[in-house]
């Protein structure tokens, strides 16, 4: 039995220690916003925050994340939309949207490290997040817009 805190709520889960966090969230807890895309950290659709850092939840073993604070897209804005989410809506980034929760969490992490990223910074950090629909340019534009919003706060 492991204890897991997701978006501030404590859960008890009974799984093997090596089960990836992704599948604990999805199938044990019913939190389906982190998506299964590849299972090998190639796509980024499963990205969540663990103690504030963007992590591929398909690679985080249950035993290693027990007791840590997990944040999924539902809680990144602390009860309202995060500025990155606002920018995503304003620039209508998603098509199918399957990768976008992971993209947004990765972008939040990027802006935390580099508040005013260049295109080069964005390319470097965001290239691990695959989008099969091809929304990359809108993602770039939305990140710049979010940076401007957050800088203005």
């Amino acid at each position: 039995m492991f204890e897991l805190t997701v978006n501030g709520i404590k859960h008890q889960v009974n799984v093997v220690p090596e089960m990836p966090l992704l599948w604990v969230l999805r199938d044990e807890l019913g939190i389906t916003s982190p998506k299964y895309g590849c299972g090998i950290a190639q796509c980024g659709a499963c990205t969540v925050q663990i103690n504030g850092a963007a992590v591929r939840s398909c690679q985080a073993r249950m035993a290693d994340v027990a007791g840590k604070a997990i944040t999924t897209i539902e809680a990144v804005g602390n009860g309202k939309l995060h500025p990155v989410q606002e920018a995503w809506i304003e620039h209508q980034v998603p098509q199918c949207g399957y990768c976008q929760t992971g993209q947004i969490i990765q972008a939040i992490s990027l802006l935390k490290a580099i508040p005013k990223p260049t295109d080069e910074d964005i390319n470097q950090v965001m290239s691990g997040n695959l989008c099969r629909c091809g929304t990359y340019e809108r993602i770039r534009v939305a990140i710049h817009a979010a940076a401007a919003k957050m800088g203005g706060n």
């Binding site: 019913g30 916003s33 796509c43 949207g97 091809g134």
Partner: protein
């Protein structure tokens, strides 16, 4: 624009006969129960609650809510949003005032948008013969009752009928209000979900549903002029954007149900072949595992969590029947190369002038091009939920062909199609993947062995790759000649396996006609080349193949527009100017001029920079693209792409831009980086690290302009794909002098 006697005469000569017999859809009509007219056959009436009304198959109003039905499935292309908004435009509803539901299977939802593709006339042809053929094709489609999302057809199919559905509902609600209030219809108006009386009293539509149900739907003569539109044609927020940004959107893979069990599969990677035997004792003992089931072509593990099921499935030792197609990739290519013979001739699509004489004049050029198998691999893997009972099957799966889901699932478990209840889901991409049935068939087999228990099947990414029925493998053999600065002949031959015909066969409707998709990109070429012949050959005995975003044109467009570029260079001409001068369709010439203006095209750039242009019409939509690249120490860098596309009417401008950008990324990314190859009968690429397409760091800025000169409304999901690869190859040639004639390009040149 007027008709083009020249083109219509030519196409008519070899296209006049094959219309209503089903050029592309084969025997589908015979396989389907004949559909009554959509009005007489409204699938919504069967399940209507008390005091509810369904004016037509798309609008349902009950005392507590308004539901708009989306007949085309949403794979990310935005039609779950624009379909209800087209209804809302005429019905005077605002976003937030209605629910959206995907349609169940019904011939009432037959796709009128395929009529153009079925009629063997070129897209810009408005001659009476062409229009007659399209009308005949439409009638045939009505009889066939085929409900399918695909072929960039959603907007062409629904642009008129959904606005009409909204208008009819509006006028009928007004008639109901007249009956109740005694006030003449002419004095009533509608706004934001209400009928408004002259004194300002507002009656909510939902309050009129019971009365409206007693009235025969009012017929409407004329739709509102686009100048009156409130929503359409203007930048609007897609209705699904917010839920996709907040994480609330539930895709098929996210659906949960009480008492559910989780299934993973291992299926024979030799596609289409059964399993011989298996040994599962190791897997059976693994955590969470409940059962291991034998399937016709593999095994399934039932577990308490998808991950347990996937882990255990990997540990089952399976012995497979070997493939019927060549086990090794080199033999696939050999088979293609040996198919340019009369035995495999599918169709001579065009034969203008005298090709033999034309090729003898001037300087002869010959080139061979290749397009490999590629995967669809939408990010949401194949999945589904199924429950089988003695009465039938209920299935929840994101799919583009609801009726075929019923047929395939029923056939797999010895039931009748009408015993299968289908629920569509929001899809995390498709690109053609969700026109196929592997997950549907397998889910039916599994749920049938677990009767009464809901089963959720998820393909692991690896399994999804291994079972992905790829894009056709294709080879083009091109000959042409130039003389005195002019292209005087082009003889275009393509050999490939037949994607659409194969899909139809799997749908239970085999066709003997040539695959029309292998003619796209070689037949509908609009340059004034006096001697022009286009021929397709259909390769037999290879891997199954299917429709992949842009289908035939994704390969043929690359071949033809690369070869045209080679001829233009051989003739000493400017690639853009020569195309404009040779283009015989005025609105397409305008399109090429537009993309040239956008890019400020002025000929060669020098200093390791190069630009390439390409122009392809597919699914009726003409798209011209210019790609600019720079040769750097780290390889080719794509700096910028300019796109002009003519769709007659841009209905959803922001989404239009997004789809065009995505199509360019799709076309470029796969042309640069992707192929699927076979070894020992199985695909060798099993995850995205082997088949990356494009990532952020390779993605250029993409500038888009939509034109509205075409005489009819066109789709945009696929048409931006075909010009991307040849425009890039032509740009690389301009920058480096290196001509790349085979995809993926990264086998021949490095990219940054």
């Amino acid at each position: 624009m007027g008709a083009m006697p020249d083109l219509s005469r030519r196409s008519f000569v070899f296209g006049s006969v094959a219309v209503a017999g089903g050029v592309a859809f084969g025997q589908y009509a015979q396989a389907q129960p004949a559909a009554a007219s959509a009005a007489a056959m409204n699938p919504l009436t069967a399940d209507l609650g008390p005091n509810a009304v369904a004016f037509n198959p798309w609008v349902e109003i009950s005392p507590d809510k308004i539901t708009l039905i989306a007949q085309h499935a949403d794979k990310g292309q935005g039609v779950g949003s624009i379909q209800p908004l087209m209804i809302a435009e005429e019905l005077d509803l605002e976003p937030g005032q209605f629910e959206i539901r995907f349609a169940g299977p019904s011939p009432a939802y037959f796709n009128t948008g395929f009529a153009h593709e079925l009629a063997p006339f070129m897209a810009p042809d408005q001659s009476p013969e062409a229009e007659k053929a399209r009308a005949a094709a439409l009638e045939w489609l009505r009889k066939a009752g085929l409900q399918m999302t695909g072929g960039s057809s959603t907007i062409p199919d629904t642009y008129e009928k959904l606005r009409m559905a909204g208008a009819v509902a509006r006028e009928t609600l007004k008639a109901a209000a007249t009956k109740r209030s005694g006030i003449p219809v002419a004095d009533l108006r509608t706004e934001a979900g209400h009928v408004i009386l002259p004194n300002g009293t507002k009656i909510p539509y939902v309050a009129l549903s019971a009365d409206a149900a007693k009235i025969t739907p009012v017929s409407v003569a004329k739709l509102r002029d686009p100048s009156q539109w409130r929503i359409l044609g203007k930048p609007m927020e897609r209705l699904d954007i917010r839920s996709k940004v907040t994480g609330e959107m539930k895709f098929g893979i996210d659906r949960r149900m009480d008492g559910i069990v989780y299934a993973a599969v291992r299926l024979n990677p030799n596609k289409g072949q059964p399993i011989k035997s298996y040994e599962a004792s190791k897997a059976q003992a693994m955590p969470g595992v409940q059962k291991i089931l034998k399937l016709s072509n593999g095994i399934a593990v039932i577990a308490t969590n998808s991950w347990y099921a996937m882990q255990a499935a990997e540990r089952v030792d399976c012995v497979w029947e070997p493939s019927k197609y060549p086990a090794e990739q080199a033999d696939h290519w050999k088979t293609v190369a040996s198919s340019f013979t009369p035995q495999f001739l599918a169709k001579e699509w065009r034969n203008d002038g005298n090709i033999d004489a034309g090729l003898k004049e001037g300087t002869l050029l010959e080139a061979e091009y290749r397009a490999p198998y590629v995967g669809h691999q939408p990010l949401e893997p194949l999945n589904g939920i199924g429950i089988v009972t003695d009465k039938g099957m209920e299935i929840w799966v994101g799919h583009q062909t609801p009726q075929s889901v019923q047929q395939i699932a029923a056939a797999a478990i010895g039931m009748k199609p009408e015993q299968v209840t289908f629920h569509n889901e929001w899809m995390g991409g498709s690109f053609g993947h969700r026109l196929e049935f592997e997950n549907v068939r397998v889910l039916a087999e599994i749920a049938n062995q677990m009767r009464g228990t809901p089963v959720k099947l998820i393909f692991s990414r690896e399994e999804d790759f291994l079972q992905d029925i790829p894009r056709q493998i294709a080879m083009g053999r091109y000959r042409g000649s130039v003389k005195d600065g002019k292209i005087i002949a082009a003889d275009v031959q393509v050999a490939a396996n037949a994607p659409f015909k194969e899909l139809l066969a799997r749908m239970g409707s085999p066709s003997k006609d040539p695959d029309g998709q292998l003619g796209v990109g070689i037949w509908n070429v609009y340059y004034d080349i006096p001697n022009y012949r286009a021929t397709s050959f259909e390769v037999q005995g290879l891997s199954p193949c299917t429709t992949w975003r842009a289908v035939g044109a994704s390969a043929n467009g690359f071949f033809t527009e690369s070869f045209i570029d080679e001829l233009i260079h051989a003739a000493g001409l400017d690639p853009l100017k020569a195309r404009i001068e040779m283009c015989r369709i005025p609105i397409y010439r305008k399109l090429l001029e537009t993309v040239g203006e956008m890019a400020d095209w002025k000929g060669p750039l020098g200093k390791g920079k190069g630009r390439g242009v390409a122009f392809v019409e597919a699914f009726g939509t003409a798209v011209a693209e210019i790609v600019e690249v720079t040769m750097t120490d780290a390889g080719i860098k794509i700096d910028k792409v300019w796109v002009a596309a003519d769709v007659g009417k841009v209905v959803d401008p922001v989404n239009f831009e997004n789809l065009v950008q995505g199509g360019v990324v799709w076309g470029l990314g796969h042309a640069m980086n992707c192929e699927l190859t076979y070894a020992k009968g199985a695909v060798q690429q099993t995850n995205y690290n082997h088949h990356e397409a494009m990532r952020m760091h390779q993605c250029p800025a993409i500038e888009v302009r939509g034109l509205e000169n075409d005489y009819t409304v066109r789709g945009i999901g696929e048409p931006p794909v075909p010009p991307a690869a040849p425009a890039l190859a032509n740009a690389i040639f301009a920058a480096t002098g290196k001509r790349i004639r085979e995809m993926p390009f990264n086998k021949f040149i490095d990219f940054v």
